[in-house]
């Protein structure tokens, strides 16, 4: 009997021990970033230089998109609006703590969101958040947001990947500490080297599956692919489709194709000649064969866009066809006073691996309309500070956002990241009307009118929304097959 009890105890203890080991965070998950913001790289989610590969793992939002992009609870458990959708009440999750030990509560929400509206900080997200007039702290776990207009889709706006909750009063240090309530805590921040994140054992959704995440700076796209091949990193979410074959036949890697609302484009500054003439801008955009770009650059894995930034799956997207039209492009150039065509220079960098190829293909396509494109490669490091929004024509890329957010952020006349310096009163009015409209069909009509204005007037040529080829080491498990900002990072494991 004594012997049986002894065996039973040993077995029981072993089971408990195995269970504990199985549930403890272990292993290192290594990812990369492109150092596109150079010396301005920081951990303050609302600033231009935010290192999103870190903040999405260390900080939570009030509301996050679920696997289908629908607003779902995160630090807010539920919400409701008044009858005209001008006041929204959010109930907060209880018993949540920041990495610095302080409790998460209503004043933190007010601080985090009002800070994003602070004109002194000048956050790119400020424009879309301007609709929030005030945030009232009802009690420690309830906030009421008062809007300047009706906004039926307001929770969707809060799913923005930058609207992260930080401790009240931490604004001066957040750029270096990255403190939040997320599954990982910043152990060492080294934007030009390796940033190390450690698992947050008290994470409210459960301890993360990995003990550490290393975020390594690798500016060159091909170098990132080599880093993946050699095991220096475990995941690359920017692998060009023409390199899919390398990984398809290799059992060490797993490839996943994810349709996204992310887009690439060529931006013409509408405040700079000759692009200050809408006819010139439209001529350039009409001269592009978008399907050919999809085939050549993306190997067919993208959805053609007619210069709308609204993602294909969005309920407000304007569906239309926009085949290449060289004769119309030439006519527009002639009417604009350029019968012999125009010449322009674009500045791609390899931080986005498809940019040089897009530039080369577009160069050949628009040449048929008399538009001569020169290509000048520029360094990846600091591209967003030195080239983007500086040169008359630049390359761009955006991650997906809800229709209202992306239309405000990239095109509203007062937006900080209005990269083409686009100013159109009708467009702005349509966005304002859409927000305040409670009838879905009328709201949809207003958003689509705004997109039609972009087709006629915009300075940004958006040929497609990409499907993302995500390649991970086969050691990586439980990685959600969704866009970067919807992934639940605590579930990821590395064998």
């Amino acid at each position: 009997m004594k012997y049986i009890l002894k065996v039973f105890s040993v077995t029981f203890m072993s089971l408990i021990l195995s269970f504990s080991i199985a549930n403890a965070s272990s292993g290192v998950f290594k990812v990369s970033h492109d150092l596109g913001f150079g010396k301005d790289t920081n951990l303050d989610a609302i600033t231009k230089g935010r290192l999103f590969q870190v903040v999405i793992k260390t900080q939570n939002r009030l509301v996050r998109p679920d696997m289908n992009g629908v607003p779902s609870p995160s630090l807010s458990t539920d919400w409701n609006a008044n009858s005209d959708a001008t006041e929204w009440t959010f109930n907060l999750r209880k018993g949540i703590y920041f990495h610095d030990g302080s409790a998460f509560d209503a004043p933190d929400v007010k601080y985090s969101l009002m800070r994003a509206k602070d004109p002194d900080i000048g956050s790119p997200v400020r424009k879309s958040l301007n609709v929030v007039e005030d945030i009232e702290v009802i009690d420690q776990h309830t906030v009421k947001m008062k809007l300047s207009t009706s906004f039926a889709d307001f929770p969707l706006l809060l799913t923005d990947y930058r609207l992260r909750m930080i401790p009240e009063g931490s604004g001066d240090t957040i750029g270096q500490t990255g403190v939040g309530t997320g599954p990982f805590m910043v152990d060492k921040f080294d934007p030009e080297g390796t940033t190390i994140l450690k698992a947050n054992p008290d994470y409210w959704e459960g301890a993360p599956g990995v003990a550490e995440v290393h975020v390594i700076a690798i500016p060159d796209a091909q170098a990132r692919i080599q880093a993946l091949l050699t095991g220096q990193i475990d995941m690359n979410r920017y692998v060009p489709f023409n390199q899919k074959k390398i990984f398809d036949s290799n059992s060490k890697f797993t490839t996943t194709v994810i349709p996204t609302g992310n887009w690439r484009g060529v931006v013409m500054r509408t405040d700079t000649a000759p692009f200050d003439n809408p006819k010139v801008r439209k001529a350039f955009r009409l001269a592009v064969d978008r399907q050919e770009l999809v085939d050549l650059v993306m190997g067919g894995a993208a959805t053609v866009s007619c210069d709308t930034p609204v993602m294909p799956s969005d309920q407000y997207r304007l569906q239309m066809d926009c085949p290449q039209n060289i004769s119309k492009a030439k006519n527009l150039l002639r009417e604009a006073g350029f019968p012999n065509g125009i010449e322009l220079t674009v500045y791609p960098a390899t931080l986005e691996p498809t940019w040089p190829t897009i530039a080369e293909v577009v160069q050949q396509q628009v040449a048929k309309a008399g538009i001569k494109v020169n290509i000048e490669m520029v360094p990846s490091k600091g591209y967003w500070n030195e080239v983007w929004m500086k040169k008359p024509v630049s390359m761009t890329r955006w991650n997906q956002r809800p229709a209202d957010t992306i239309l405000h952020e990239a095109y509203h006349s007062g937006a900080k990241w209005n990269e083409s310096y686009f100013k159109n009163a009708d467009f702005d009015k349509n966005l304002a009307d859409a927000r305040s409209e409670l009838d879905f069909n009328k709201r949809k009509k207003a958003y689509q009118n705004a997109q039609m204005t972009l087709w006629e007037q915009s300075g940004t040529m958006i040929p497609y929304h990409v499907s993302r080829l995500v390649v991970t080491s086969s050691k990586v498990k439980n990685l959600d097959a969704v866009d970067h900002f919807s992934i639940q990072w605590h579930k990821v494991k590395v064998d």
């Binding site: 023409n242 085939d295 050549l296 050949q364 000048e376 490669m377 360094p379």
Partner: protein, 297 residues
Amino acid sequence: MENNLITEDIQKNKLEKAFEILKTMASKPSGLIGLTIVLFHVVLALISPYIAPYDYKAISPNTMLLAPSAEHWFGTDSLGRDVFTRTILGGRTALTVTFFGSLIALLWGGLLGIFCGLVGGKIDDVVMRVVDAFLSIPWILAMLLIVSLLGTSTEVLIPALGFFYGKGIVRVARAATHDVIAKDFIVSARARGHSNMSIIWNEIIPNVRDAILVEGAMRWSWMLLGFSSLSFLGFGVSPPTPDWGLMISNARGLMSFAYWSVIAPIVGLSSLIIGINLTADAFAKALGIDRSTKAPV
């Protein structure tokens, strides 16, 4: 009449000497191979626009990454362009830029080195310290800075490469000058009251020319590699101009399954560099110069 005859005689002698040097170079297998390769590339660069079977910039999704075939001898690249066409055209810009870049390097580096070697003193000290300072700067960083500021046109690349590759020639030319300035004919020229310019032109250049030319030939092959490195990094010629460095850069990610798009430009570039090196080596031997010491043997 008599002067004209003497001039013709001198020119005839120069031609004969050049022919003699070529003959000596070709007498060794390595020299013959080097000369043949360089000649092949130069001829190819001249005639390639007329013999290229396809438009080098014609893109098509229907012909992406085709393997070598009777239709596309070297296959096609990721944009459906014919690799053979782009390879035979790919050396034109590199050869042009580096040839003129080497000439500039030879001119400024050679003349400055000779001048410093002759005048010596503080001027020599200051100039050489400046040259040393520039030598300590990695050329690729300096070139990246220049192309970032001024662009990547050939008008920028030729003088920039010429400048950076001329720094080493300054030292070689100065050392060669030191070897000859102690000779009697220089002392004699000085005693006759000849100016520095006259001594440089009439006495020193004929005696250091060979060493500088050999150095220049070597610099040419290094410059070619440097230029291709710039193109590889995306800072050489602009797309869609075919260029070996750029072709290698674009195709490097496809090596494991579309090797043809990267092998052809690699062969083009490396064969030209080997050819120039063998030629420079044979040139030095024909002139009686030991390349390890740059001194007459």
